[in-house]
């Protein structure tokens, strides 16, 4: 074979390879787009329905573009849900509960994570094993006694502070005290802090608490942000405890506000979807701006925990 023929064949092969790569690239974008549509469609449909009039909700065939879009009545469903059905209040309640619980988790988890990462003490491995094992046990196993204990013991004792049932205590206190996930996350981070920093502080005569407070906490801001955000999201989305403990409507969080609303106004899909948008929009906004913290935190600790 002549060198020209060989060269031509090589060129041909390179061209084919390039073409194959382009085709597979296009195929991947097609898959990515299809999955994107499947992922986002429920949100789009939710949003679309939330801008429809009651008549348009039941129009056949269903339309994607809502009839009230860019009309003066566009925000009517939101106004109705927020004011007449109290969703302003529910949103505030969800925010309060999630914020307090996340803040509490930050305190307990950094304290415990610090001890587990940087101190030696008797029973350390045993306690940490219990901590990890407890995450494997379904909440259904402990929620019944937790509720009974709250009703029979905490409620009478806490009367001067407003009781326990139908207050936010049971929504906040167990969540912030049982920060197994957070302890794990903080422990992982505190491991990575160089020993020299700690030793220098000891020589300067700093107390252990001072070392935790002025050296380790400032260093762990990214991890603490991750922990706070994840704890906030989990508590914002919490369903079981609000269902069990909250009976006064004014104290409802968004999750039970939404379920009770659905029970009462079954066919009002436009209002229901407006309520759903209200209850997920704050988290989506947080997610868009703090994606890095949230995703890494969930993926890495999930992987190890």
């Amino acid at each position: 074979m002549t060198t020209v023929a060989i060269r031509a064949r090589e060129l041909e092969r390179a061209r084919l390879e390039r073409a194959a790569r382009t085709v597979s690239r296009i195929a991947m974008y097609v898959v990515l787009t299809v999955v994107s549509i499947a992922t986002i469609f429920p949100f789009i449909w939710m949003l679309s329905t939330s801008f429809k009039s009651q008549g348009a909700v039941f129009a056949l065939p269903p339309r994607l573009i809502p009839d009230r879009l860019f009309t003066p009545a566009m925000w009517d469903n939101y106004v109705t849900v927020l004011t007449r059905y109290n969703f302003v209040r529910y949103t505030f309640n969800s925010f309060f509960v999630a914020f307090m619980a996340a803040l509490g988790q930050l305190v307990t988890s950094t304290l415990a994570g610090f001890a587990f990462a940087r101190m030696e003490f008797k029973g350390k491995n045993f306690l940490f094993a219990i901590l990890l094992a407890s995450t494997m046990i379904p909440v259904e196993v402990s929620i019944i006694p937790e509720f009974l204990m709250g009703a029979k013991i905490f409620h009478p004792i806490m009367q001067p502070l407003g009781g326990w049932l139908d207050t936010y205590y049971p929504l906040i206190v167990p969540s912030f005290m049982v920060g197994t996930f957070g302890t794990f996350l903080m422990r992982e981070f505190f491991y990575t802090v160089p020993k020299e920093l700690e030793e220098a502080a000891v020589i300067d005569g700093a107390t252990t608490f001072r070392i935790y407070w002025s050296i380790f906490l400032p260093l762990s801001k990214p991890s603490m942000t991750t922990l706070f955000l994840i704890a906030f999201i989990n508590n914002w989305n919490e369903l079981l405890r609000p269902v069990l403990y909250i009976s006064t409507k004014d104290l409802y969080t968004l999750t039970i506000g939404l379920t009770s609303f659905k029970g009462a106004y079954e066919a009002q899909w436009n209002l229901l979807m407006a309520g759903s948008v209200i209850s997920i929009l704050p988290l989506i906004i947080v997610y868009i701006f703090a994606q890095r913290f949230i995703v890494e935190g969930i993926a890495t600790t999930g992987l190890k925990g």
Partner: protein
């Protein structure tokens, strides 16, 4: 570091105290309560194994258990396949990949109650968008009533749960894929391996510790499925989609049967424990031990 002996215990006290009070204590208490009949209003009455006997003789319990196992059998392979495929695609060097990654993860952080409302509406029988698309575009004259149909309700819960959680497992798989060193792939390519060979002979075995984690985690979560049932079907129609965790909730907090519900909770824990132990037992057979 030098510190007083008591210091570490002070640091872990709030966390361990909370764990003891709200988790460990209740887990033990639940076991004791499972031997009683207790409606909360009157004093608990010791009934020995009565609740467990009742459970074994209850048709509803076996149906609920079957539902939970069917849900798990559909959900776990479903979510693993979907999330693995997504992770493999997202592991390519393509433009805009970060956008897609962020998008796919999004359902995982949203409230199950809120997205369940949207899915309820999509699956709604007469006016739901799905059935109208099936009718108008695919010529299905009588599409199923989905959530109101005994044969489909549980399947809908599976679909919604896969949709909601696939993004999480995708991220876990992706982290695993990215920790496989690239020189292994290069070596395979030099040896002339094609894409499928690389995937099945290198990627999958190297990924097996991650797959193991995903398997254990998704199984545990499948067994305790509660929120999607609560928000979408309330276990209906006629218990057709009642999962074990939801059945526990109803017995405890709707029927006030604390003893029976605790026995059910222990059945759930036993189930989770057994399957997790089984997983760790067969781990060596398929999970790579010494990699990288």
């Amino acid at each position: 570091m030098k510190y007083k002996k008591i210091t570490p215990y002070l640091f872990i006290a709030p966390m361990i105290g909370g764990l003891a009070l709200f988790r460990i204590g209740p887990i033990i208490a639940s076991f004791v309560i499972s031997f009683t009949r207790w409606n909360v209003r009157t004093a608990p009455e010791f009934v020995g194994l009565g609740n467990y006997v009742e459970m074994a003789n209850s048709d509803i319990f076996w149906l609920v258990l079957k539902n939970t196992l069917v849900f798990t059998a559909l959900y776990v392979p479903g979510v693993i396949v979907v999330s693995l495929i997504l992770a493999v695609i997202l592991n390519q060097k393509l433009k805009g990949i970060a956008f897609f990654r962020g998008l796919y993860f999004m359902p995982y952080i949203t409230s199950m109650v809120a997205v369940a409302m949207a899915w309820n509406w999509i699956f709604s029988t007469r006016f739901g968008v799905l059935n109208n698309v099936l009718k108008d575009m695919f010529g299905v004259s009588h599409p199923p009533a989905w959530l109101a149909d005994r044969n489909y309700a549980l399947l809908v819960l599976v679909i919604v749960t896969v949709w909601k959680t696939a993004g999480f497992y995708m991220m876990v798989f992706l982290a695993g894929l990215q920790s496989i060193p690239s020189h292994i792939y290069e070596a395979a390519r030099i040896d002339g391996a094609n894409r499928f060979q690389v995937f099945f002979k290198i990627t999958l075995p190297m990924l097996s510790p991650v797959t193991f984690f995903v398997l254990v985690f998704s199984l545990i979560n499948a067994f305790r499925t509660f929120e999607v049932t609560y928000a979408m079907t309330q276990g209906g129609p006629l218990h057709a989609s009642t999962t074990l965790a939801y059945y526990i909730y109803r017995n405890a907090f709707e029927f006030n049967r604390m003893g029976f519900a605790s026995a059910l909770a222990y059945a759930l824990m036993l189930l989770v424990g057994l399957i997790t132990a089984l997983n760790f037992g067969v781990r060596r057979r398929w999970v790579s031990q010494d990699i990288y």
